[in-house]
Symmetry: C2
Subunit: 255 residues, 2 copies
């Protein structure tokens, strides 16, 4: 049986402020919890139905500092979802060192003000699929530890490092090192014909405003995804998650 | 001021059963309503804030059989969204004739049991972008007139015809006409190297179960999207909306 204080502590982590203070976040779902355990990540608290706990081997169970066996009703009290899963866990936020020169050696992603948790989740998932390991988000982007982002990544969060930074400074640094910045725009050169590189930064913008005017000067290659759509009313754009998937795929195909 | 009966009538359309009985559905949002009007589609009922109504030209306004000027509070009562927009409208369901031989002459899409409204919306949006005009859904797929699907399509619904059919029969018909069926799977030939065609059917499966076993024999080309992901735990797949975007892009690039 969970104490009221513990319920309060865990549900408080649905708020960004509390996640930042505690340096903790919540993962939900049998599959996600198993994936964290399989990656040997320590859980601060594991809260799950007895069947789930019993299904874990003892070496996995020992990765949890504190394990609470609970009823479905108790899980419902903790969950950010309409229908809770059988398990959730509180995990320490990884705070990866922001080693820019290492990131510059690879193909990476920068996100300027992506707001929708589902979109960030999709982008992380696509990045993981195509072997992109680093995403640098502007400070006003949605928090990667938001429960909806975590849910949408489906475990891909384990394979991609996410950083928050001032993109103006970051891209200025990239320019100094002559790193190409591929800005996805509504016009430019077709992503199919641009000479893509195996390193550089793919810059994607906010859902409605696109890339901020002050970042545009740092773009070395404006790329767009040609569509018949652009000429018809009502098809004004692909969403940023779809655009990311297509652009990552095209870089991956050519490299 | 809206009557109680009218409120009941409009909110009832959030249910599939009622949409089918009335052959009506609801579109929400200033932008979407404007796009329907710009496409000269008649509105059975337009419900909007006075500012929105006043912003319409009289020829557009005359496309609405019944126009109700309401407060934000009234819109909130009608809306399926947390935060209602300034306008919504009740529209007659278009029931396009299912002319299979015409569809077979083009590149089209078949969806086997796609359940998530957001995914169907994304797929319609991607189809519209890449000039694909026909999507045939299995009868157990999510209803295209579900408010969440309509919302996710962002107007692309105006450019893509959606049909519901028995896919077993439909694909059997395609085979008789020697139409290629490109099934997106986790294995097969890379979508980047398969010899794609400018006509045929792209078949996408259910979010968790993939393509039904009884449809697999109709696939002429098994295609997959290569990723580094497949080899790592926690990256088991791209979601169907992302896969659709990438595959449509690849067909578009090559044709």
């Amino acid at each position: 049986m969970l104490s009221k204080n513990k319920i309060k502590f865990i549900t408080a982590l649905q708020k960004k402020k509390n996640r930042e203070e505690e340096k903790l976040f919540v993962i939900e779902g049998d599959k996600l919890v198993r994936e964290f355990l399989n990656a040997n990540i320590r859980l601060k608290i594991l809260v799950a139905k007895p069947e789930f706990i019993n299904s874990l081997t003892s070496d996995k169970l020992s990765l949890s500092d504190e394990t609470e066996s609970v009823s479905f009703g108790e899980l419902r009290q903790l969950s950010s979802l309409k229908t809770p899963h059988n398990a959730l866990a509180v995990v320490e936020k990884a705070e990866p060192g922001f080693d820019q020169s290492r990131i510059f050696q690879q193909l990476s992603v920068a996100l300027d003000g992506v707001q929708d948790p589902g979109n960030l989740g999709t982008i992380i998932r696509a990045a993981a699929w195509f072997g992109i390991s680093h995403i640098v988000c502007s400070n006003d982007s949605v928090d990667v530890h938001n429960p909806k982002v975590i849910q949408a990544t489906m475990g891909a969060i384990l394979h991609v490092q996410i950083y928050y930074a001032d993109l103006l400074e970051y891209l200025a640094g990239a320019r100094k090192k002559s790193i190409r910045v591929f800005g996805t725009m509504l016009e430019g050169e077709s992503v199919y014909s641009n000479e893509l590189a195996d390193k550089g930064i793919i810059l994607l913008g906010n859902e409605s405003k696109g890339i901020s005017p002050d970042l545009i000067p740092f773009i070395s290659d404006r790329i767009y995804i040609p569509g018949t759509g652009s000429s018809k009313p009502g098809i004004d754009s692909l969403n940023v998650g779809m655009a990311a998937s297509i652009v990552f795929s095209e870089f991956s195909r050519r490299n």
